[in-house]
Amino acid sequence: MSEVRLQIQNLCKTFGITKAVQDVSFNINKGEVHALIGENGSGKSTLTNMLTGIYSIDSGHFILDGREIHPKNQVEANLEGVSIIVQELGTLSGLTVAENIFLGHESRFVKFGIKNTNAMNREAQSLLNQYGFGRIKASAMIDTYNFEDRKLVEIVKATYFKPKIVVIDETTTALSQEGREELYKQMNRIRDEGDTIIFISHDLPEVLRMSDTITCLRDGVYIDTVKSSDIDEEGLKKLMVGREVTGDYYRSDYGEKVSDTVVLSVDHVTVPGQIHDISFELHRGEILGFGGLSESGMHEIGKACFGASFDRTGTVKLADGTEINDIPTAIHHSVAYTSKDRDNESVVMNQSIGDNICLPSLDNLMKVPAIGILSDVKMKTFAQNYADEMSVKMVDTDQFVSELSGGNKQKVVLARWIGKNSDILVLDSPTRGIDIKVKQDIYQLMDKMRKQGKSIIMISEELMELIGMCDRILIMKDGQINGELMRSPDLDENSLIAKMV
């Protein structure tokens, strides 16, 4: 049997009233990929953030190779041999690639108080070359690289010093297929060298494929640790949710005819540097999917349809001839949009759930419409109704959105647009970083809306959900539409990937 690398003993952490991690104990071995799974808000990230010094420990112990550690920050954690690749951007703007890689460890290159930048760049470049990322230049500013490349830099940063444990926190959802392959390669390498990876992911097939051992948390409580060879996807879902997951996941219908009525037509739309000469039509009751690599420009399509693009040319027109050139016009004419960047563009973080839901619908929540006096009662019941309809987990509608987990934030955004009763929904990565239970809710909601005659544009990096949900899929490549695939039971990921790369 393999040796124990990390013992987690009676770990606890609370945030105000939320008990994020409660008395969790389990062991992690050397030379394994140990997956942590659980629904949103189950305490996975909280646990690893304590291990890597991002959060402080309330009580309990981490024992690494027989010695207790309690790092106060990430640099200390690195010195103990623990590093992390985070879910969102973990590199600092305004620094070079090399400075990012050696952040907190610059002293290696300092002699007599002077930093030897050349030596640092040389060392960083040789690391990048070793990893096969030679096209990234160590001396360049990190800002010149896109999200994907910055993630690769982060992989180097987190692993070059041969740490004993590397935490990978939902990194794959932000990566395209190529980026994922790169990450998998590094994960396998680290395992083969006898070190440990703690892998957090919502993508259960990926978890089963990549990990040796799986530990499940639910509402901050330890549930079980299993060998991935002894369990299947259904079993994992059951562990996470605590009961059998029943009912439909994706849509099950095939061959239904989509209406001929066009509700939105996009004509020769170009956004400089993002998308080029895009034209398509969206029909009534249709779910139109957009797939591609994350840099293919597909995310800009959503913004363009919502009037949120900068410097856009070409027209986006509704059935009644209204042209959509700015956001208020879009909202006023029943177009809704949820962004991939949920925290910055979808929810107003430091505002209450209630205000977030009511914001676009204030016109209908007046007490004295003539002079624009709002009704507190109407707003309160409106927010409560739609939050309940989406079953948002919250204390009350006065709670701030910033206190909610990712899945619940997304529910608030959807509640807002359902409340607005929008007819055209542009959903960019609606299930990103969301657990299966909420995903299922969102898929069911989309199916329901489709049947009500609403039209949906779904932009996603998850090919399976595009195949499962869409009537038609447009594949983007280099800012242009590179192929169209119709709904069919025979469609598989490979036929999409073929058009993407």
Partner: protein
């Protein structure tokens, strides 16, 4: 059993949290009462007896603070208020020789124009608001000094004859009541709070954020332009120091009233009212006790620092735009 204690403590935590919120929101009111009582005792009841004198400062402060409150709610700052007050006062005094109503309009227009200048550089040129307003503060302070270098600009005699508490009080109440209604009961307040709490998300929720930001700076300027009228009927003329440091006074007043420095959803209109009262009671109290100007400034600085430390919302504190 274990489950039971958990839910219990959760409820306790909730109660504790709401107690803290209530305490925080009432602290300025408690502070106001305490300071009022303390100064009355120290001055042997002089503050109550000379109430109208105590309050003579409040009209200008509260009217201008209303505009700055809107600016701060959406996450901005405005340091140009003192210079706006000085400039608009000069205009009011000059125009008052022709017609008083015209002077009021001209004052408001001057304030609005300077506000529009702030708004233009802030919104269109995307310069941080405190940089822009510090620049306009110096710019217009310079112009004020230039215009008043030979002699103070004095208003017409009719202007000073209007100096009655009833008029000043009515003007102030109109501004405050309209401000309260707009902020608390219309989408104006909702939008401002949303911009302060997350500008990008506010934009994606359909708020024309640039237009709002620009107009709020114009409004803040216009309100101070109106305050300049009240200031002019009280003082009757403008010297080179007219309106000096009013911006700091407003900022201190709002923070004393519990205004979160970073703006956002936690701003309450009560902050304006309680804050202005607290500031005026504090400064005239210190005056009546007979402290020197130096000592007064020192004490104000300490009080300000304490309040900022208490009210800074560290969770949502970001760089001020």
């Amino acid at each position: 059993m274990a489950d039971n204690t958990m839910t219990l403590s959760r409820e306790e935590e909730l109660k504790k949290r709401s107690r803290m919120t209530i305490l925080r929101s009432f602290l300025p009111v408690i502070g106001l009462v305490v300071i009022f009582v303390v100064f009355n005792t120290l001055t042997g009841g002089r503050m109550v007896k000379k109430f109208s004198m105590t309050m003579s400062q409040i009209y200008v402060t509260m009217i201008s603070a209303t505009g700055v409150f809107f600016v701060m709610t959406m996450g901005g700052l405005d340091f140009s208020q003192g210079s706006i007050l000085g400039m608009a006062s000069i205009v009011v005094c000059l125009v008052s020789k022709k017609s008083i109503p015209l002077a009021v309009v001209a004052g408001i227009a001057t304030g609005a124009a300077i506000g529009a200048l702030n708004g233009f550089f802030y919104v269109n040129r995307k310069i941080k608001s405190f940089i822009v307003t510090i620049c306009t503060m110096f710019l217009f302070r310079g112009i004020i000094k230039y215009l008043t270098s030979n002699a103070p600009v004095s208003g017409s005699a009719k202007l000073i004859m209007l100096n009655k508490d009833s008029l000043k009080l009515t003007c102030m109440l109109i501004v405050v009541v309209l401000g309260l209604i707009a902020f608390r009961y219309t989408r104006f307040g909702m939008y401002l709070k949303a911009i302060g709490a997350g500008e990008k998300a506010a934009k994606f929720a359909g708020i024309r954020t640039n237009k709002m930001k620009f107009l709020v700076y114009v409004l803040a300027g216009a309100l101070t332009g109106f305050a300049a009228f009240i200031n002019s009927i009280k003082v009757g003329s403008v010297t080179s120091s007219g309106g000096n440091q009013v911006e700091t006074q407003i900022l201190i007043a709002l923070v004393l009233g519990g205004m979160p420095i970073s703006g956002g959803a936690k701003a309450r209109f009560m902050n304006v009212i309680v804050g202005s009262l607290l500031y005026v009671v504090l400064s005239s109290g210190l005056n009546m006790v007979g402290l020197s100007t130096q000592a007064q400034q020192l004490i104000q600085g300490v009080v300000f620092l304490v309040f900022v430390a208490v009210f800074a919302d560290r969770e949502s504190l970001r760089v001020i735009k």
